[in-house]
Protein backbone atom coordinates (compact mmCIF):
# COMPACT_ATOMS: atom_id res chain seq x y z
CA UNK A 1 0.00 0.00 0.00
CA UNK A 2 2.70 2.44 1.01
CA UNK A 3 4.71 1.51 -2.06
CA UNK A 4 1.67 2.06 -4.29
CA UNK A 5 1.09 5.49 -2.75
CA UNK A 6 4.75 6.39 -3.31
CA UNK A 7 4.49 5.29 -6.91
CA UNK A 8 1.35 7.41 -7.41
CA UNK A 9 3.11 10.43 -5.95
CA UNK A 10 6.05 9.92 -8.28
CA UNK A 11 3.76 9.78 -11.30
CA UNK A 12 2.16 13.03 -10.14
CA UNK A 13 5.59 14.61 -9.68
CA UNK A 14 6.64 13.69 -13.21
CA UNK A 15 3.46 15.25 -14.65
CA UNK A 16 4.02 18.42 -12.63
CA UNK A 17 7.61 18.61 -13.84
CA UNK A 18 6.43 18.42 -17.45
CA UNK A 19 4.29 21.49 -16.79
CA UNK A 20 7.29 23.23 -15.23
CA UNK A 21 9.36 22.49 -18.36
CA UNK A 22 6.69 23.57 -20.83
CA UNK A 23 5.62 26.83 -19.25
CA UNK A 24 4.26 28.58 -21.25
CA UNK A 25 3.89 31.61 -18.99
CA UNK A 26 6.08 32.31 -15.98
CA UNK A 27 3.11 31.89 -13.65
CA UNK A 28 2.60 28.36 -14.90
CA UNK A 29 6.14 27.55 -13.88
CA UNK A 30 5.65 29.15 -10.48
CA UNK A 31 2.47 27.17 -9.98
CA UNK A 32 4.19 23.95 -11.03
CA UNK A 33 7.07 24.48 -8.61
CA UNK A 34 4.62 25.29 -5.82
CA UNK A 35 2.67 22.08 -6.44
CA UNK A 36 5.99 20.28 -6.62
CA UNK A 37 6.74 21.57 -3.12
CA UNK A 38 3.55 20.12 -1.64
CA UNK A 39 4.20 16.82 -3.39
CA UNK A 40 7.68 16.87 -1.87
CA UNK A 41 6.20 17.21 1.61
CA UNK A 42 4.05 14.15 1.00
CA UNK A 43 6.85 12.13 -0.62
CA UNK A 44 9.27 12.79 2.21
CA UNK A 45 6.69 11.72 4.78
CA UNK A 46 5.77 8.59 2.84
CA UNK A 47 9.44 7.71 2.27
CA UNK A 48 9.90 7.66 6.03
CA UNK A 49 7.18 5.04 6.31
CA UNK A 50 8.54 3.14 3.32
CA UNK A 51 11.97 2.88 4.89
CA UNK A 52 10.59 1.92 8.28
CA UNK A 53 11.82 4.92 10.28
CA UNK A 54 9.07 7.54 10.09
CA UNK A 55 10.51 9.79 12.78
CA UNK A 56 12.27 12.08 10.30
CA UNK A 57 9.12 14.03 9.57
CA UNK A 58 10.83 17.31 10.48
CA UNK A 59 12.02 17.93 6.92
CA UNK A 60 8.44 17.71 5.68
CA UNK A 61 7.31 20.14 8.39
CA UNK A 62 10.01 22.54 7.24
CA UNK A 63 8.84 22.41 3.63
CA UNK A 64 5.22 22.80 4.68
CA UNK A 65 6.20 25.92 6.65
CA UNK A 66 8.51 27.85 4.38
CA UNK A 67 7.85 26.62 0.89
CA UNK A 68 5.73 29.66 0.08
CA UNK A 69 8.51 32.13 0.85
CA UNK A 70 9.80 31.84 -2.69
CA UNK A 71 6.27 32.35 -4.05
CA UNK A 72 6.03 35.65 -2.17
CA UNK A 73 9.47 36.64 -3.42
CA UNK A 74 8.29 36.00 -6.98
CA UNK A 75 5.14 38.00 -6.40
CA UNK A 76 7.21 40.96 -5.24
CA UNK A 77 9.65 40.43 -8.08
CA UNK A 78 6.96 40.89 -10.71
CA UNK A 79 4.61 43.33 -9.06
CA UNK A 80 7.01 45.79 -7.53
CA UNK A 81 10.37 45.06 -9.18
CA UNK A 82 11.89 45.55 -5.76
CA UNK A 83 12.33 43.74 -2.49
CA UNK A 84 12.35 47.00 -0.58
CA UNK A 85 8.72 47.97 -0.25
CA UNK A 86 6.26 46.06 1.84
CA UNK A 87 3.25 44.30 0.47
CA UNK A 88 1.08 46.35 2.75
CA UNK A 89 0.49 49.92 3.62
CA UNK A 90 3.35 51.45 5.52
CA UNK A 91 3.72 49.96 9.02
CA UNK A 92 3.31 52.18 12.04
CA UNK A 93 6.90 53.29 12.39
CA UNK A 94 8.09 56.88 12.10
CA UNK A 95 8.69 57.30 8.40
CA UNK A 96 12.33 57.95 7.63
CA UNK A 97 12.03 58.86 4.00
CA UNK A 98 9.75 58.03 1.17
CA UNK A 99 9.15 54.46 2.17
CA UNK A 100 6.14 52.28 1.63
CA UNK A 101 3.72 52.45 -1.19
CA UNK A 102 2.83 55.41 -3.29
Amino acid sequence: MIAAATLALFVAVVLVLIRAFRGPSLYDRVLAVNVFGTKTVLIISVLGFLMGRPEFMDIAILYALINFVSIIAILKFFRYRSFQVGLTRAPKVPPRTGEGEA
Partner: protein, 121 residues
Protein backbone atom coordinates in the same frame (compact mmCIF):
# COMPACT_ATOMS: atom_id res chain seq x y z
CA UNK B 1 -18.56 1.83 29.03
CA UNK B 2 -15.08 0.57 29.58
CA UNK B 3 -15.92 -2.58 27.68
CA UNK B 4 -17.25 -0.57 24.80
CA UNK B 5 -14.06 1.47 24.71
CA UNK B 6 -12.02 -1.69 24.76
CA UNK B 7 -14.00 -3.15 21.89
CA UNK B 8 -13.61 0.05 19.92
CA UNK B 9 -9.89 0.06 20.58
CA UNK B 10 -9.49 -3.51 19.43
CA UNK B 11 -11.48 -2.73 16.32
CA UNK B 12 -9.27 0.28 15.75
CA UNK B 13 -6.15 -1.82 15.92
CA UNK B 14 -7.59 -4.26 13.41
CA UNK B 15 -8.70 -1.68 10.85
CA UNK B 16 -5.80 0.73 11.36
CA UNK B 17 -3.40 -0.60 8.78
CA UNK B 18 -5.82 -1.48 5.95
CA UNK B 19 -7.75 1.77 6.27
CA UNK B 20 -4.53 3.78 6.46
CA UNK B 21 -3.19 2.03 3.37
CA UNK B 22 -6.39 2.61 1.42
CA UNK B 23 -6.42 6.30 2.37
CA UNK B 24 -2.82 6.63 1.24
CA UNK B 25 -3.56 5.07 -2.14
CA UNK B 26 -6.70 7.16 -2.66
CA UNK B 27 -4.72 10.28 -1.78
CA UNK B 28 -2.03 9.29 -4.26
CA UNK B 29 -4.64 8.84 -7.00
CA UNK B 30 -6.11 12.25 -6.18
CA UNK B 31 -2.61 13.72 -6.50
CA UNK B 32 -2.32 12.17 -9.96
CA UNK B 33 -5.71 13.63 -10.93
CA UNK B 34 -4.58 17.07 -9.84
CA UNK B 35 -1.33 16.73 -11.77
CA UNK B 36 -3.22 15.69 -14.91
CA UNK B 37 -5.37 18.77 -14.47
CA UNK B 38 -2.27 20.92 -14.16
CA UNK B 39 -0.94 19.41 -17.35
CA UNK B 40 -4.09 19.43 -19.49
CA UNK B 41 -6.09 22.50 -18.52
CA UNK B 42 -5.92 25.45 -20.89
CA UNK B 43 -4.89 28.47 -18.84
CA UNK B 44 -3.31 29.48 -15.54
CA UNK B 45 -6.57 29.98 -13.66
CA UNK B 46 -8.06 26.59 -14.47
CA UNK B 47 -4.72 24.98 -13.65
CA UNK B 48 -4.67 26.75 -10.31
CA UNK B 49 -8.18 25.50 -9.66
CA UNK B 50 -7.26 21.91 -10.48
CA UNK B 51 -4.16 21.82 -8.33
CA UNK B 52 -5.21 23.86 -5.31
CA UNK B 53 -8.38 21.83 -4.76
CA UNK B 54 -6.87 18.40 -5.27
CA UNK B 55 -3.64 19.22 -3.51
CA UNK B 56 -5.22 19.97 -0.18
CA UNK B 57 -7.57 17.02 -0.64
CA UNK B 58 -4.78 14.61 -1.46
CA UNK B 59 -2.64 15.95 1.37
CA UNK B 60 -5.47 15.51 3.86
CA UNK B 61 -6.22 11.96 2.79
CA UNK B 62 -2.57 10.89 2.81
CA UNK B 63 -1.82 12.54 6.12
CA UNK B 64 -4.84 10.94 7.78
CA UNK B 65 -3.70 7.63 6.33
CA UNK B 66 -0.20 8.11 7.67
CA UNK B 67 -1.56 9.11 11.09
CA UNK B 68 -3.40 5.80 11.18
CA UNK B 69 -0.21 3.98 10.22
CA UNK B 70 2.11 5.87 12.55
CA UNK B 71 3.82 3.75 15.20
CA UNK B 72 4.11 6.41 17.89
CA UNK B 73 2.13 9.41 19.01
CA UNK B 74 4.99 11.78 18.20
CA UNK B 75 4.90 10.86 14.54
CA UNK B 76 1.14 11.39 14.48
CA UNK B 77 1.55 14.78 16.16
CA UNK B 78 4.16 15.85 13.60
CA UNK B 79 1.81 14.79 10.82
CA UNK B 80 -0.94 16.92 12.35
CA UNK B 81 1.47 19.86 12.34
CA UNK B 82 2.28 19.25 8.68
CA UNK B 83 -1.43 19.22 7.91
CA UNK B 84 -2.07 22.50 9.75
CA UNK B 85 0.86 24.27 8.10
CA UNK B 86 -0.09 23.04 4.67
CA UNK B 87 -3.60 24.31 5.23
CA UNK B 88 -2.23 27.69 6.13
CA UNK B 89 0.47 28.00 3.49
CA UNK B 90 -0.96 26.23 0.44
CA UNK B 91 -4.05 28.37 -0.15
CA UNK B 92 -1.96 31.44 0.59
CA UNK B 93 0.50 30.50 -2.11
CA UNK B 94 -2.33 29.79 -4.56
CA UNK B 95 -3.85 33.15 -3.72
CA UNK B 96 -0.51 34.89 -4.25
CA UNK B 97 -0.03 33.23 -7.64
CA UNK B 98 -3.55 34.05 -8.78
CA UNK B 99 -3.18 37.63 -7.61
CA UNK B 100 0.16 38.02 -9.36
CA UNK B 101 -1.15 36.51 -12.59
CA UNK B 102 -4.26 38.67 -12.55
CA UNK B 103 -2.51 41.95 -11.89
CA UNK B 104 0.11 41.09 -14.49
CA UNK B 105 -2.65 41.05 -17.07
CA UNK B 106 -2.99 37.34 -17.78
CA UNK B 107 -6.33 36.83 -19.51
CA UNK B 108 -8.43 33.77 -18.80
CA UNK B 109 -9.15 31.68 -21.87
CA UNK B 110 -12.76 32.14 -22.85
CA UNK B 111 -14.13 30.37 -25.87
CA UNK B 112 -14.91 26.96 -27.30
CA UNK B 113 -13.12 23.98 -25.82
CA UNK B 114 -10.21 22.46 -27.67
CA UNK B 115 -8.01 25.51 -27.42
CA UNK B 116 -5.13 24.14 -25.42
CA UNK B 117 -3.56 27.46 -24.63
CA UNK B 118 -0.22 26.41 -26.08
CA UNK B 119 -0.67 28.67 -29.09
CA UNK B 120 0.41 31.83 -27.27
CA UNK B 121 3.70 30.39 -26.19
Amino acid sequence: MAELLETLLSWFHVVREPVGGVLLVVGGLLAIVGAVGLLRFPDIYTRLHATSVTDTGAATLMIVGMILLSPTGWVALKLVFIWVFMFLANPTASHAIANAAYTAGMEPKIGPSGDTGEADR
